[in-house]
């Protein structure tokens, strides 16, 4: 791997950098049985920002009937968005109403997410994939009207019912269509943890070819233990943005081994040990993971927070 770019002014410029987006406060805790009150969320989010994480998905604007842990989305916005800061706080929205709530709350970074599998779309969003795509166009346009370029996420890119049951041709077609719109980035989600290093490389190579200048974000789960291998494979294929979750929080706490997102501290450790700069203080993230372990009353799946 190369080290540093040519630099006539003799100033050391690192070209090996990766940008993490922390999704623990949203994807990580959304189905935790133990409530996280607004005070605790703010404490954790501010600690994660202080640890150097450049982007944090702070909440989601979904109906509290479906995800009670996110009922305080407006309060979170009020507490976080007032101050000048370098951290980007984003919010997830799944329909136009959610986008409008996020905009009204002051979010300028909005993450959209749509299903790519018909069964998943019906089960999860009660609509067809085509209807979801049409709604995403409306959400992008609504965001753009307010001067916001949202992130557009595609779910279950690497499989829903079984690994590889999502058509990569269809994903590439969706990517091409959405990358012609005014979006900030394109996220590919391995929602079910079914990716492997080879399928990651194939998907990234296909999507990169049609994404133009739109950055690709990879959202990985460690369900089958391949999370870090997939990060490495994606890095080789040119991905420079990853969603991660402090402690590896997420998944279903009632299924042993059904882990959640890839762990922030493990991802930081791997990348930094490979000479890739994340600007994140891994030990500080580990301390936050241990704080969350004490709150949820069980060991989280990430490794490094038990060691550093």
């Amino acid at each position: 791997m190369c080290g540093y770019g040519q630099n006539p002014k003799n100033v050391k410029v690192t070209v090996l950098t990766v940008e993490l987006c922390e999704v623990g406060p949203r994807d990580g805790i959304q189905f935790e049985s133990r409530p996280f009150d607004t005070e605790l969320k703010i404490e954790l989010i501010q600690a994660l920002a202080a640890a150097g994480i450049p982007r944090i998905q702070a909440t989601s604007f979904v109906h509290p009937k479906w995800v009670p842990q996110m009922a305080d989305a407006e309060s979170i916005a009020e507490r976080l968005l007032g101050d000048a800061r370098s951290t980007i706080y984003s919010a997830l929205a799944l329909n136009v109403r959610g986008v409008e709530r996020a905009l009204a709350a002051g979010f300028t970074a909005i993450d959209l997410s749509i299903a790519t599998n018909e069964t998943h779309s019906r089960d999860n969003a009660n609509m067809t994939v085509e209807e979801g795509v049409a709604q995403a166009v409306q959400m992008i346009e609504r965001s753009n009207t307010a001067g916001v370029r949202p992130q557009l996420g595609l779910q279950t890119v690497f499989g829903y019912g079984a690994p590889g049951d999502t058509s990569i041709d269809f994903i590439a077609d969706l990517a091409a269509a959405f990358c012609e719109r005014d979006i900030e980035s394109l996220s590919l989600a391995d929602s079910t943890g079914m990716a492997n290093p080879v399928s990651i490389r194939r998907a990234i190579d296909r999507v990169s070819a049609v994404a133009g200048d739109v950055p690709i974000v990879l959202h990985l789960h460690d369900t089958r233990g391949l999370g870090m291998a997939n990060v490495f494979a994606a890095y080789i294929s040119g991905v420079r943005r990853f969603d991660t979750s402090v402690g590896g929080l997420g998944g279903c706490p009632f299924i042993p081994g059904a882990t959640g997102n890839i762990s922030t501290e493990d991802t930081v450790y791997m990348l930094e040990s490979m000479g890739i700069d994340t600007e994140v203080d891994g030990a500080a993230v580990s301390a936050i993971a241990r704080r969350i372990e004490a709150h949820v009353g069980r060991q989280l799946p990430g490794k490094m927070h038990s060691l550093e």
Copy 2:
């Protein structure tokens, strides 16, 4: 990645194969507080063989004062080595006395292992690295005299006190010297789980350049969660043999998160999902992992055995 080699007879010949060596019965259980009696070990080893694992490190010939779990090495040999079989059963030996016991017990596959770090050598073997190297030469010669070509293992290749504190030049020199002797394979051990995909590739590339025709085996621990990423990186660098442990058994059960060897079932899953043949039945290995979980009374760190 390429699929199949050219084949004029039109018979499908897979060129993507990896050979696993199961080390659970030795490295995995050696420091378990709950005893594994000989009957249980034989049951597990035979089940692992039936699952298709081509090589199993069945025991070690070390003084029972240091490793009481291995006091039954001769009995294990007597039970396993009688029948015609396709599985290779190996035994670990750490000195000439151990080699002689292994030979007397009937083992024709013997794994030797030496320290490469002075502190580790002193702490673990009470000798200098130079003395360990000289002893390894004696062990190889003693094995050769009995017609056995042993595996020679180098410990803590990727660090002992800290990642990267082992000189890769020294490792390459040792590899070059030992590969001129009559050994079956050369094993590089990340005993402390300090490797990362970049250090793996650097070490493998250096050692491959001096190893000649001697196959390289990689022995990885998942201490920092990089086990599968390191397997993938090593595979890219040409490694085709890995030590793994059912369930990810091993490490110290008293330190949370201090996991042991990389898990057999997770390694099988990753490789097979990438189109690489291991000839191992992952679901059968997972069932054995769950059997061991019931025996040791705690969840093992591998992921797949909770899912399949």
